[in-house]
Amino acid sequence: MTHNQESGNDQDSVLRKPVSRRDLLRMAGVGGLGLMLGAGGMGGFLQAGRSLNANSSPARNTGDQVPFYGLQQSGIITPPQDFLCFAAFAIRSKKLADVRALFQKWTAAAAEMTQGRMIGEWNEQHNSPPSDTGEAEGLSPSKVTITFGVGPSFFDDRFGLSGKRPAELRDLPAFNGDQLSEDWCGGDIGIQVCANDMQVAFHAIRNLARIARGIAVLIWTQEGFQRTAGADPTAQTPRNLLGFKDGTGNPDVTDKKAMAKTVWVQQIEGPAWMENGSYMVTRRIRMRLEVWDRTQLSEQEATFGRYRSSGAPLGASKEFDPLGLDRVREDGEPVIPVNSHVRLAHGDGSVQILRRSYSYSSGIDRRTGQMDSGLFFVSYQRSIAKQFIPMQQRLSQSDKLNEYIVHVGSAVFACFPGVREGGYIGETLF
């Protein structure tokens, strides 16, 4: 679920919190103050606060745009927008030249869409199908970000790139309790689109799929949501569908050092084409909502090791109080149970990941009539082997949460570094 990356350690005090662009817009009402200030005014105001995005170029920030170009791709340490449209593609062409051309076209289209512009030059000719499908015409870019990655299968023998596969990038090992379905697994290419408007996000995926026709095809997609900014004007940590605040323990995305340690691939570890890129893990995790809903509150809280209402660690009073894993009760048992989710996920605290998940709801399971809802877990990390895998191994073995969830989908993608104007996504690899 989403992990409120805007919050530092002072989440409780909205007043002490520096003003982010999102807050500013929320206060001003998009299109009100935002428009009056214009690009310059807004940029200036924002710089007085803190930079929202490591790769933002302030000149182009008019409030509802996240810059597409930069050292790193946007959509990774960008504070999570309200909606997600995720798409996995399989490449049908056998020629690297086709794939390269596709990424060039995608880059151009993504650059336009993130600025809220129509794509292509055929939008007025009556005798041609329009090059942009049109449903986002006139809409705000809604902070849309489009983040591209390639999966392990991209490096098989089709394109002569097998030598360039990062050792990191392989399908995840089987974990206890996995019930993976082909319907939500893998992909040669993964694209994460996030935006504060579902129609804007959908438009992006639809047009990227259209541009890919003949070269690559969709193999699965997933939509996701969290509470919107409008429903939560004070920007509390969002709650997942089990009712718990989710994202509290995420590293601070404004802390450059922490991001270099946790998220961005560094030069020393290589491969060179991944420097300033990041590895993405997606897990489609279905929640057994019906079972959870008949579980006592104390049991629910013991499952996570946190209070439901405040999000504070058990035995503590505030959401951002330290976990205090060594605290023990009078009977000698740890306050935060040994098989609780936060204790197991936290481990010794030396290894973190950046979670950027969304809730999903995909109708009902026809066989049981139960809801097919849960968490579309997305995390970014510098190393899958050193960060995600050991964590998920601990969780899959002992997490009390496993009574209420089942992992049904899994994929990993190497997300490219960012791109400068004139370049294209993937150029460091191809």
Binding site: W122, H126, N127, S128, P129, R210, R213, G214, V217
Partner: protein, 293 residues
């Protein structure tokens, strides 16, 4: 049968049906009779005289093709109808799908000519039960009832309709813009019903229709190819490649002289065919604009 029978008729189709009744030259009929709905498509139908001359040879060539297909359609429908009336079920079944291919190759033309498509190619529920006739009614009798009893009148009626179609195509006035949109419409036909196996409910011979629609589109493309290449060699190469891919995909489902039953396709097969079709239709849909017609 066209899926969107009762839905709005496209501007190009309207234009051509008017032209057909008028029998005038491409230039003057258009000006006088252009219906309001076609106004949005004005660019597509306004070809200046030079371009029209330019395309004359191509259009003549296409008309020849349409007539040739119609001739074969008549001959094979005659054989089909005879078999039905003689109660020769197996023979009729064998003729059914190949005969229909001649129609499927030129379907947009038949649609432009009025009621031919509903009369010849309607599926059950496409039209009022009392009005249902044509190939699919006989299909149901052959495969579902296993008997042709009481079908004599439907059979005779079908042959009449097919012969009338043959007579009418003689006079149809074809425009280049119609060729460009017709090629895409043929593929849309496939997307709508054939790829999902809804066209041939009882005989499961959808792949024959699929192949014929693609062949009809390819014929149009072949005729326009050299002109298209002058304008946009890259697009031409792309379309060429995509035709190759879909033809290969279809060829892998051949069985003897014909094609396997739709029921023998796996989910994965239909998905691949459908995606190959979308991959072809996308660049093909730019053909008209690139040619400026």
């Amino acid at each position: 049968m066209k899926a969107r029978f009762m839905a709005t008729t496209s501007a190009a189709v309207l234009a051509i049906s008017l032209l057909a009744s008028g029998c005038g030259s491409a230039g003057d009929t258009k000006k006088d009779n252009k219906p309001a709905q076609a106004a949005t498509n004005a660019n597509a139908v306004q070809i200046n005289n030079e371009t029209a001359d330019d395309y004359k040879a191509i259009i003549d060539e296409y008309r020849k093709y349409v007539i040739a297909e119609c001739d074969l359609f008549v001959t094979e429908t005659e054989a089909f109808v005879q078999a039905i009336k003689a109660g020769e079920i197996d023979k009729a079944k064998a003729i059914y799908a190949p005969a229909r291919m001649h129609y499927e190759r030129i379907e947009p033309i038949a649609e432009a000519l009025g009621d031919f498509d509903p009369n010849i190619d309607a599926r059950e529920n496409d039209v009022e039960a009392a009005e249902w006739r044509g190939y699919h009614k006989l299909e149901k009798a052959l495969w579902e009832q296993g008997s042709t009893e009481g079908m004599e009148e439907t059979a005779d009626r079908l042959l009449e309709d097919v012969k009338l179609l043959r007579a009418k195509v003689e006079t149809v006035d074809i425009e280049v813009s119609m060729l460009a949109t017709g090629a895409v419409e043929l593929l849309n036909e496939v997307s709508a019903t054939k790829v999902t196996g809804e066209e041939e409910r009882y005989s499961r011979t959808d792949l024959y229709d699929f192949v014929a629609n693609v062949e009809g589109a390819e014929k149009i493309y072949e005729l326009l190819k050299s002109k298209l290449k002058d304008q946009d060699a890259e697009l031409t190469g792309e379309i060429e490649q995509r035709f190759k891919e879909i033809n290969e995909a279809l060829a892998s489902h051949k069985s003897g002289e014909g094609y396997v039953s739709y029921d023998d396709l796996k989910g994965e097969d239909t998905r691949k065919l459908s995606q190959a079709l979308d991959a072809l239709a996308e660049p093909l849909s730019r053909m008209g604009a690139v040619l400026g017609v």
